[in-house]
């Protein structure tokens, strides 16, 4: 397996996401574009890694739920919303933009075969930084 071609890329290259809120709890889905990417995400996107990504917002425990039929995960992140929609001082009181923390800030060695064929990330010259 050493000859798999990988590149350092954000999750945005292989997955999409949406954030929802209930009180002070944020939930962020993570959905693979290609079914083949599911196992990679399962191995690489752990609860601990996601917790570290949201720690600066005061986030507590993270629980990951797996939905292999849908090539998807659901991350439930406690205390990430500055008290929730009615208490937060953030511009984004629902935390709707937070899905892009997960997509933008977790940089991994991603096998090129997991990137959708039509994605700009397929181009090795594509400058995402």
């Amino acid at each position: 397996m050493t000859n798999i071609k990988t590149r350092e890329l954000p999750l945005h290259a292989i997955a999409h996401a949406r954030a929802g809120d209930k009180g002070n709890v944020s939930n962020i889905s993570l959905i693979a574009y290609l079914p083949e990417a599911y196992d990679f995400l399962k191995r690489e996107v752990s609860e601990a890694k996601v917790e570290a990504l949201f720690a600066h917002l005061g986030a507590g425990a993270v629980k990951r739920y797996e939905l292999p039929n849908l090539y998807a995960f659901n991350f439930v992140i406690q205390d990430a919303l500055d008290g929730g929609v009615n208490a937060s001082r953030s511009l984004d009181r629902h935390g709707k933009t937070l899905s892009f923390i997960l997509l933008s800030r977790l940089i991994l060695d991603i096998p090129e075969a997991l990137i959708p064929p039509s994605s700009p990330y397929r181009d090795p010259e594509f400058n995402w930084r």
């Binding site: 945005h12 002070n24 739920y65 039929n69 849908l70 208490a87 001082r89 984004d92």
Partner: protein, 458 residues
């Protein structure tokens, strides 16, 4: 009743488009079978605001946009026998019903039979003090605060009762959003309390529809990576539901947007926690074995939803006064703008402290550190932000004291003349806040008060 039931959603939140239902009604007119149009327009705080409005004027307290949503489609829903189910009733469904009667008369339509559902407002039959002192699910205490509203989330069974009156239009206050879909399905198919898998399927169908365009390509586009055709003309969703609980999500012909496995999956997990127990009053839905099948372009069939025993307690959202929020912003641009913006914020912070305000004040610099960074400057250390940039300082606080909230705005405004060089574009607002928390109450406390009633034209 074994015919498929067609349910469309014309609004997914209180600020949604007024014209989205028009192509849905045209589409429903071509479907043979019972047809429904729902509108979901009731956010958590909306009902508390409506409660305040009703206290001031007993003829108000329902959605201020009721006429905006209904006028464009009322003629055609009558012509094509499309029944409407909506939570536009908010804190005063009966007054909303009378408004529709007047509107129909003005439009020269035959009278509608309109039923309302009440009983969600637990303050009308439970002790206010007990509500405010109840243990909250969040662990926060509301004791000592002014109670604005407390509404139980009613289920699809209650919505079905209102439809059982034979009403053309059903107005409710607080129900789960998905109950606006599950209600018509229980009414049409006669699903009983034990039909857990079907109740779960109807609930998930409602969950997929309840946010309007969010399942048909809206809130999805990421240009170049996740493209959506004709987002400006996005079609709102429609479900075709079979008696066995299987259903297909689609949209009106000739509209923009798209229905794909990806759009449906994003909406499925939206505001969901544990996918094996999505709790509503009627059932606990389990989507871990669910499958999506692409029947045709823009047609996704959903199968494999399981249901488990319904919860013993119902969720009640309690709203209390939450003080005042102040937000104030000013722009700085060009060379060294980031440092000038930061200095502006620091001047305001130091003057607020000098005034004796010692609670938290959040400072963001838009363009440098804001929503994703939690307004934390240290997150930008070592990052190469443009020296020639366009930044906007934003200060925000929440206080019980309206004067302190106003002071924050004033202090930033003073920087027009007394701040760093080149500040401009000051905007600020002080807004009244509502705090909320959830409590759980036994069904038996609520059920006897849930009533469906037909409202005649007066």
């Amino acid at each position: 009743m074994d015919r498929d039931v067609y349910i469309a959603n014309g609004a997914g939140f209180s600020g949604d488009r007024f014209d989205a239902a028009v192509p849905l009604v045209a589409h429903l007119a071509t479907c043979s079978g019972p047809r429904y149009l729902m509108f979901e327009v009731l956010a958590e705080r909306t009902i508390a605001l409506a409660q305040n409005a009703k206290a001031k004027d007993p003829s108000s307290g329902y959605s201020p946009y009721l006429e905006n949503y209904l006028r464009p489609i009322l003629h055609d829903v009558q012509k094509h026998q499309v029944r409407i189910v909506s939570n536009m009733g908010a804190a005063n469904p009966a007054a909303g019903a009378r408004h529709i009667h007047r509107l129909a008369e003005e439009m020269g339509l035959k009278p509608f039979k309109i039923a309302v559902l009440t009983g969600d407002d637990v303050t009308s039959y439970l002790d206010r003090q007990a509500i405010i002192e109840a243990e909250t699910m969040e662990g926060t205490s509301l004791a000592g605060r002014d109670l604005c509203a407390a509404n139980a989330y009613l289920g699809g069974d209650a919505v079905a009762k209102a439809l059982d009156t034979g009403a053309d239009i059903v107005l409710v206050g607080r129900t789960t959003d998905s109950a606006l879909v599950l209600g018509p399905l229980i009414h049409e198919f006669g699903w009983q309390e034990e039909a857990l898998d079907k109740l779960a399927a109807g609930t998930i169908c409602g969950h997929l529809l309840e946010c309007g365009g969010q399942v048909t390509g809206a809130y999805f586009a990421d240009p170049g990576f996740k493209d959506v055709p004709d987002l400006a003309g996005v079609g709102f969703p429609l479900a075709e539901v079979r008696a066995d609980g299987q259903f297909t999500i689609t949209k009106a012909d000739g509209t923009g947007g798209c229905v794909t496995k990806a759009t449906v999956t994003e909406q499925l997990l939206y505001e969901m926690h544990d996918p094996s127990c999505y709790l509503v009053p009627d059932v606990s839905a389990d989507v871990t074995e669910m499958q999506l099948i692409e029947e045709a372009p823009n047609r996704i069939k959903v199968v494999g939803i399981k249901g488990h025993e319904r919860p013993e307690k119902l969720k009640v959202t309690v709203c209390v006064d939450g003080g005042y929020m102040a937000e104030a912003e000013m722009s700085y641009a060009g060379l060294n703008a980031l440092k000038r913006a930061k200095l502006a914020g620091e001047v305001v912070l130091s003057r607020m402290r000098a005034s004796g305000y010692n609670e938290e004040i959040r400072m963001d610099i838009l363009g440098a550190y804001s929503v994703l960074e939690g307004g934390r400057a240290e997150r930008m250390e070592g990052k190469n932000l443009p020296f020639d940039g366009d930044y906007r300082v934003r200060l925000a606080l929440i206080s019980e004291d309206r004067d302190k909230a106003q002071l924050l705005c004033n202090e930033l405004q003073h920087l027009y003349c007394s701040g760093p060089a080149g500040g401009g574009g000051y905007r600020a607002a002080v807004t009244e806040q509502m705090a909320s928390a959830s409590i759980l109450l036994d069904r038996a406390l609520i059920a006897p008060h849930v009533k469906a009633e037909v409202i005649a034209h007066d």
